[in-house]
């Protein structure tokens, strides 16, 4: 189920969502995300971020409106085919949702096993990825014996292990120190460079500001899209009379240059990723 060319990977049309008879949590949300895009999902607590993610990873149905994933309209997709769509989505749940009776290794291996991957491949990829997120010595540990940050890394490893087309993360850096947070973000960026579309829900303004990607901003259930610095710069560049003007804009936002130019040194730590990906 590979999306056709230029087909948005996620498309929401006038989505409304309410739980039971309560107030509407999401109101007339419409957007389309291109394959390979990177977005932050921002908004205050209770603005509907988690609900929006749940709609995308097919844990909820909207009260109204139309959702399409990878070119498939969800309402008209047979239930049996939904699991194939879910397998293309990696999710880092806010509360991790690790299976406490399974080891870290088995938790990370789950998506591959569910997709009936070969045992040899499962062993190799899971070992490499766990080593990369710094849990080499905790492969056989059960989640309850791990710290919050370690559990979060297991959850992230599980979300990316089968190299999903779409990665959703709900506050993925909330429980880790800055250095590990950055390392994880680099992992997401690396995946994004390899073609995975990424949506990260976060409260960290610092993170959003620093990386400068586009934002899906939720305010009281309504969505606004704030273009990232790269898009803003290229949009301006396209309309600018000369390339010099664009250069000037980029110089005013030095961080954006990294995004545009893709400076390799920032991915230093991520160098091991490609081998398992």
């Amino acid at each position: 189920m590979i999306p056709e060319n230029d087909e948005p990977i996620v498309r929401f049309e006038n989505i409304g969502l309410r739980y039971g008879l309560g107030r509407e949590v999401l109101k007339d949300v419409s957007f389309a995300l291109a394959p390979g895009s990177f977005h932050f999902l921002v908004g205050e607590s209770g603005a509907g971020k988690s609900s929006l993610l749940k709609l995308i990873y097919l844990a909820l149905r909207p009260t109204r409106g139309k959702i399409s994933l990878f070119g498939h309209e969800i309402a008209s997709t047979p239930r049996d085919d939904l699991s194939a769509l879910r397998r293309q989505i990696g999710v880092v749940f806010q509360e991790f949702k690790l299976l406490n009776h399974l080891s870290a290794f088995d938790n990370v291996a789950l998506p591959m096993r569910v997709a009936r991957a070969k045992r040899k491949d499962v062993d190799r990829h899971v070992t490499e990825l766990l080593a990369w997120v710094g849990l080499k010595d905790h492969m056989q540990a059960r989640p309850p014996t791990l710290s919050g940050g370690q559990q979060q890394r297991v959850a992230i490893a599980r979300a990316v292990i089968s190299r999903p087309s779409l990665l959703l993360a709900d506050e993925p850096t909330g429980n880790v120190d800055d250095q590990m947070g950055l390392r994880l973000i680099h992992l997401f960026e690396e995946l994004n460079r390899l073609g995975t579309s990424v949506i990260i829900a976060t409260h960290s303004e610092q993170l959003v500001e620093r990386l400068g990607y586009s934002q899906l901003q939720l305010t009281d259930g309504r969505l606004a899209i704030i273009p990232g610095r790269a898009e803003a710069a290229s949009a301006v560049a396209a309309s600018a009379e000369t390339a010099a003007e664009a250069e000037e804009i980029q110089n005013q936002h030095p961080d954006s240059r990294r995004v545009i130019a893709g400076e390799e040194d920032l991915y230093e730590n991520a160098s091991g990723v490609e081998s398992y990906l």
Partner: protein, 294 residues
């Protein structure tokens, strides 16, 4: 999943399913007894049937004219001698008849005291597709006052009784199956409720319903096999004891019925069948429940 011994759900640690093997053992125990009973009854009925089917009794109703009766007897014997389906026949003489009657009328009667019918025991050839009616019609055409008794009425009653018992055993089997299915459904639903969160995670990372259902099914199969074997181990000595008890009670009514290999195979198949019922039930229950998820 059975081969690797690996399961994503910790079903083997569930307390609530611990009693399932014992319950299944009890069910298998009962069903083996019911099936064994059915087999014994069935064998008895067919033995009676075979024992009686080839035989019939021709009766010549007596009149006052002894000489005429004798002539009718000879006439009947002539017909029997030429009938193609008759293998052997034997006319009982009057003294044997009187001896047969002794227990009821006492030893003091003599030949001629009572109007006695003449009886001829007829044994038919095994292979003929004979009906008692055909020979009877030919006889009564030739000779007046002839009655034919092929023991059908007597046999039919016994067979009907046996069939009633067999039907009863089938009803018992049906109830056992229903109880097993009900228990497995209940156990599986409890398991689904206990592991709801883990199942949700499996579901969200793209596990097909079959993948989840298989884990419950293999668990139910394992428990079913364990319980089935336990039931078999309990049932076989019981069966042996009952067989000996029955044999010592009345050997003439219940001839010693040895179970053939097919009968043993059927009894041994019971635990396997129950285990498969448990497995299928668990699978269907899980699939139905999961179908309610998005």
């Amino acid at each position: 999943m059975i081969l690797t011994g690996r399961s994503d759900l910790p079903l083997d640690k569930d307390e609530h399913s611990r009693f399932l093997p014992w319950l299944i053992a009890f069910m298998v125990f009962l069903s083996i007894l019911a099936v064994a009973g059915m087999l014994v009854l069935n064998a008895t009925a067919s033995r009676w049937d075979v024992g009686v089917r080839g035989n019939l009794t021709v009766q010549i109703v007596p009149t006052d004219d002894v000489a005429a009766d004798e002539a009718r007897l000879n006439e009947v014997l002539t017909v029997l001698a030429t009938a193609p389906e008759v293998a052997r026949y034997d006319a009982l003489d009057e003294m044997r008849l009187i001896r047969l009657l002794e227990p009821w009328v006492g030893p003091s009667i003599e030949k001629g005291d009572l109007p006695l019918p003449r009886l001829i025991n007829v044994e038919l050839k095994q292979a003929t597709s004979f009906t008692a009616g055909g020979l009877g019609a030919r006889l009564s055409e030739r000779v007046k006052g002839v009655a034919i008794d092929d023991h059908r009425v007597w046999l039919d009653r016994l067979v009907r009784m046996i069939e009633t018992f067999e039907a009863l055993a089938l009803v018992v089997l049906l109830f056992i199956t229903m109880a097993t299915v009900g228990t497995v459904v209940f156990t599986t639903r409890t398991g689904l409720a206990i592991h709801r969160e883990a199942i949700e995670v499996l579901h969200l990372i793209g596990a097909h319903d079959d993948y989840i259902a298989r884990q419950f099914a293999s668990r139910a199969l394992g428990l079913g096999i364990r319980g089935g074997l336990l039931g078999l181990v309990l049932a076989l000595p019981t069966l042996w004891m009952l067989a000996h008890l029955a044999a010592s009670l009345d050997e003439r009514l219940l001839p010693d019925i040895g179970f053939g290999p097919w009968h043993w195979a059927l009894l041994l198949a019971m635990p396997v069948t129950v285990a498969f019922i448990a497995m299928t039930t668990a699978k269907v229950t899980v699939l139905r429940n999961l179908a309610r998820m998005l």
